[in-house]
């Protein structure tokens, strides 16, 4: 039997292909957002789609985040399947009223009368020296809100497969794309398609510690695990994938085996997603632990411009390694 066909793809191309496929498959699907058309997307994700699908399906919008995100929500209630691109998570703050007060509430407030099948994509994360206002990681904030679902692809297969799954979901789904991942290249199955969007995934098996990461920190956790392996510490790496509702079963199962956990989160430490995961481990696996849960998060400063300061503010493979060594040394 021949091996399944593979194609070389970038994270960016995988997302583009998923949008293309959705537009071809369902005429209710359209993409709208700032610079998604003529410009090709601020990060090049939608390049070429305007030519292929025309301005009714690929809609450039004014810089009116609240209006076009709300229009996406309304269009979803009206029977369409909008993909709304908010250029970056930083700008979604201008649309937070629509996301929180409409998308997240209307199904419930109406007593279950209206599904809201809208997908809102946004770039997130730091690491490119774009300073405090363009470097936010606000997934933890948004994960606070009942009524939303949050996805964060950190692999090519998820970049390719989360969008169709999100579009098939009758609820509002936010998809985050870390800016540092767009150029990541890997081989992808030529027939890659929708993936499941309920479970976290174990990306690397290990026995000594569980590293819980997602999005932009997954690569750093894997890098840390590789380095730890050289000194005989086998780290298991979990990719959360779904930030709401959290799949804590996968995390608890892993931690119950490894007895140690380090959560790697680019959000600020206080009130972070890492804090939530940590709390759930305490609640559900306290007696399985050999050491207190550790968190490697961003330093609590607005992300600075200067490269050495910015890098010092962010979780790094080296800080993850240090946390694990501390934990193993202290806990035995």
């Amino acid at each position: 039997m021949s091996a399944p066909a593979k194609v070389q793809s970038s994270y960016r191309e995988a997302i583009r292909e998923s949008i293309r496929e959705a537009l071809l498959a369902d005429e209710r699907v359209f993409l709208m957002g700032e610079d998604v058309g003529a410009y090709g997307g601020c990060f090049g994700v939608s390049k070429g789609l305007l030519d292929e699908f025309g301005p009714e399906r690929i809609c450039d919008t004014p810089l009116s985040e609240s209006a076009f995100v709300g229009a996406g929500i309304g269009a979803a209630i009206g029977g369409m399947r909008p993909i709304v691109e908010v250029m970056t998570v930083n700008f979604c703050l201008l649309a937070l009223d629509q996301i929180m007060n409409n998308a997240a509430t209307i199904t419930h407030m109406s007593g279950g009368q209206f599904p809201i099948p809208v997908v809102i994509r946004m770039t997130t994360g730091a690491g490119r020296q774009v300073a405090a206002q363009h470097s936010h990681s606000l997934e933890g904030w948004l994960a606070h809100i009942p009524g939303l679902k949050l996805l964060f692809p950190a692999t090519l297969a998820d970049a390719r497969g989360m969008l169709p799954a999100a579009l098939a979901d009758p609820n509002p789904v936010l998809i985050f794309e870390h800016a540092s991942l767009y150029n990541m290249e890997e081989e992808l199955a030529a027939d890659a398609g929708a993936v499941e969007i309920q479970r976290a995934a174990i990306r690397r098996a290990g026995t000594d510690v569980s590293l819980v990461a997602y999005g932009g920190t997954l690569g750093k956790a894997i890098e840390a695990a590789d380095e730890l392996a050289e000194s005989g510490i086998e780290a298991e790496v979990i990719d959360l994938r779904v930030l709401r509702p959290l799949d804590d079963a996968t995390v608890i199962e892993s931690v119950s085996r490894t007895r140690r956990a380090v959560i790697v989160d680019e959000g600020w430490r206080s009130g972070s997603l890492a804090a939530e995961v940590s709390a759930r481990i305490m609640e559900q696996a306290f007696y399985e632990l050999d050491a207190p849960v550790e968190r490697v998060c961003s330093a609590e400063v607005p992300i600075p411009y200067a490269a050495q300061l910015e890098q010092a503010a962010l979780p790094q493979a080296s800080t993850v390694v240090a946390a694990v060594r501390r934990m193993v040394g202290a806990g035995g």
Binding site: F30, E56, C59, T61, P62, S64, S66, A67, F68, V69, G70, A71, G72, I73, G74, A75, A76, I77, G78, G79, M80, P82, D97, Q98, N101, N102, I106, T107, H108, M109, S110, G111, G112, Q113, F114, P115, I116, P117, P146, G147, K149, P170, N171
Partner: protein, 328 residues
């Protein structure tokens, strides 16, 4: 302002009945609020009835409606039953939002009534999307979007007006100008208080109407709806009106002169229509009594329905956070 001609007797009586239903329903709501049957925030439409009653005549059952937190009147006139609305205020499962929304969040899929939005300006972007969905599907429908004068100060108003005009979306922007954003008079928060003038800068037809005259409102709304439906473009109406009661049940109403309220009460839209119909020989004392009787009966039935309704068990607390219906 020229006076719009009186409609046929039947239609005149129908408008009168619609406005009276809203008035009497809300008067009863005040009693029920005092009796603690209704709780939370409650905003009364009393004085503004001509706006909802007139506009709803101009739109079709398949059109969409987006309203504000002061929406009992819109919901009633749109055709959500008084019983379902009252049961909602009682927090009962039989309510039009299963008791999950309350006074400010009346929803009804059957009449395409999309709330009841309690964030000032928050409904405008939704209206764009509903209109967009209809337009793209080739359905000749309009979305009637109600909001208050206070919303004009919100960024969402300006963003939405621009996008609707830019994309040619068939939205009726219906600004219920009652001269106060909660307790702040319009002259104290708007640099340009001629709201139709402001709206016209977005390249859409925009004009002001006497919102205390239901016949004028209906005529204007019909014209606007026809433009939006046939032209597939938005239209803005400023409906100049006034609320006779306080902003909400919590409001002591200390920010406006009593004389001003009394002056506006001289333009009560219900009394004004009654007088015109009477003067034209279209409304008799018997007609008025019959309308009052029928409205009272409908409201009594609504209260009985709400009283007899069921409370959702707390075990169901977490339902409806996500869609539970059939696959879509």
């Amino acid at each position: 302002m020229s006076v719009a001609p009186l409609p046929e007797r039947e239609h005149g009586l129908h408008l009168l009945r619609q406005m009276l239903l809203v008035r009497r329903f809300e008067e009863k709501c005040v009693e029920l609020y005092s009796a603690a049957k209704i709780r939370g925030f409650m905003h009364l439409y009393i004085g503004e009835e001509a706006v909802a009653a007139g506009v709803m005549e101009a739109i079709e059952p398949e059109d969409a409606v987006v309203a504000t937190y002061r929406e009992h009147g819109h919901a009633l006139v749109r055709g959500i039953s008084a019983g379902a609305i009252m049961a909602e205020m009682y927090g009962k499962v039989e309510g039009c939002s299963r008791g999950r929304g309350g006074s400010m969040h009346l929803f009804d899929a059957a009449t395409r009534f999309y709330g009841g939005n309690a964030i000032v300006g928050g409904g405008l972007p939704l209206a764009l999307g509903l209109a967009l969905a209809d337009k793209r599907a080739g359905r000749e429908r309009v979305t009637a979007c109600f909001f208050g004068d206070g919303a004009v100060a919100e960024g969402e108003f300006h963003e939405s007006m621009n996008l609707a005009a830019l994309w040619g979306l068939p939205v009726l922007f219906l600004c219920e100008n009652n001269l106060y954003a909660m307790g702040t008079a319009i002259g104290r928060y708007e640099s340009e208080t001629d709201l139709a003038l402001k709206a016209a800068s977005y390249e859409m037809p925009a004009w002001a109407v006497d919102g205390m005259d239901v016949i004028a409102v209906e005529a204007a709304a019909r014209k606007a709806a026809a433009e939006a439906r046939l032209g597939g473009t938005p239209c803005f109406l400023e409906l100049r009106t006034y609320r006779f009661r306080a902003h909400s049940m919590y409001d002591p109403d200390l920010y406006r002169p009593k004389e001003e309220i009394e002056r506006w009460k001289q333009h009560d839209p219900i009394a004004a229509l009654s007088e015109r119909l009477e003067a034209a020989g279209l409304l008799s004392a018997e007609d008025s009594a019959e309308i009052e009787r029928a409205v009272a009966e409908e409201i009594e039935a609504a209260i009985a329905f709400a009283e007899a309704g069921t409370l959702e068990p707390v075990e169901d607390l977490k339902r409806f956070v996500y869609w539970e219906g059939a696959e879509i």
